[in-house]
Symmetry: C2
Subunit: 206 residues, 2 copies
């Protein structure tokens, strides 16, 4: 299946500013993208990056300067077969998790992300369009209903945990195995324990 | 399979203090427990609550005043067949998710929770013991290795999202269907959008 992987190549992962500088956010975002592309290919998908500027990765890249939703919707409108959309900030993704997504049946299949996001979609219903703004999983349920179909979900932590905020970096260090984890380790980001959930800190000088 | 559901009946869910009062935290925790027990039974498990004080629920209750890890380990030491442990704060749990857990093969099967937790376990290896303190998923991996076996994981968002912090309440409102969600809605807790992930606010007076 064709799998779009949208990527902000200009100013990615702004909410990681407390931990990473601008160039670092760019490098780390590219590491996550590379991990996602590898998982998509390993899970049986044919990945294509849709990026706001050129990026060098192991997949074809379309440069499209439009915001996320119109860039994806234009491709949905032109698609003559099922199309999947997988976010680029899912470094916990594995080939197995991607295969579960691509093999799940249903006209619109979604993986909910933390905080109301829609981290992955398989769209087999030609009339369905995305809206990633706001509480997108709720909006996508309503949009599926509005075109006479039903959104079904795939229950996956590996695809449900996207990396937006500093605490999410702990998930990468705990559960990912690829470039994004290696990048964090090489840049001094490590797990810290407190009461409750673990978080991260960064070594001075790293 | 026998499924232990440990429950803090004395002072549950302290990190929800910014949103819920002490009595409310108790009522909400019991609503989550009831949802979990229903999912466990629906998923093919035989639930038994291990609570720090008596609680009225639709399952047998053992009162055990010890902390979580010794209370569970005592039962693991006495078990003569596989035993599962499922946390009581997983109101997104469904029978399907529980069935995936109970049917997953392996001597020690775990569902990682947000921030390094271990939200559910199936223990078929008699020598394995738990330690829920700190970054438990990492500790449980090491403990499985120390008794000559391997911890495998089940990839589930519905079991991976536990409810500890106010932002987690948004997950309940978005993805749960049972008593915990109804309790939040009846007490004025609702989704709010900002940039990025959604959160919750509470109506004045509720």
């Amino acid at each position: 299946m064709d799998v779009l992987v949208p990527f902000d190549a200009i100013d990615p992962k702004r909410r990681l500013e407390p931990v990473l500088g601008a160039d670092e956010r760019h490098d780390f975002a590219e590491a996550m993208l590379a991990d996602v592309l590898e998982a998509v290919a390993g899970g049986g998908g044919d990945p294509r990056v849709v990026a706001t500027a050129d990026v060098r990765v192991a997949a074809p890249v379309d440069v499209d300067e439009r915001p996320l939703s119109p860039a994806v919707n234009d491709r949905l409108a032109r698609a003559d077969r099922p199309l999947a959309i997988v976010m680029a900030d899912l470094p916990l993704a594995t080939p197995t998790a991607i295969a579960r997504l691509l093999e799940a049946s249903g006209p619109v299949v979604a993986v909910p992300g933390l905080g109301g996001g829609t981290n992955a979609l398989v769209v087999r219903e030609p009339a369905f369009r995305v809206d990633y703004h706001g509480c997108s999983i709720r909006d996508h349920r309503e949009r599926a209903a509005a075109v006479g179909t039903t959104l079904t979900t795939v229950d996956s932590y590996r695809l449900g945990v996207d990396v937006d905020e500093p605490a999410d970096l702990a998930e990468v260090l705990l559960h990912a195995e690829g470039r994004a984890r290696a990048w964090l380790e090489a840049h001094g980001v490590r797990i810290v324990h407190a009461d409750g959930r673990v978080s991260v800190e960064r070594s001075p000088g790293d």
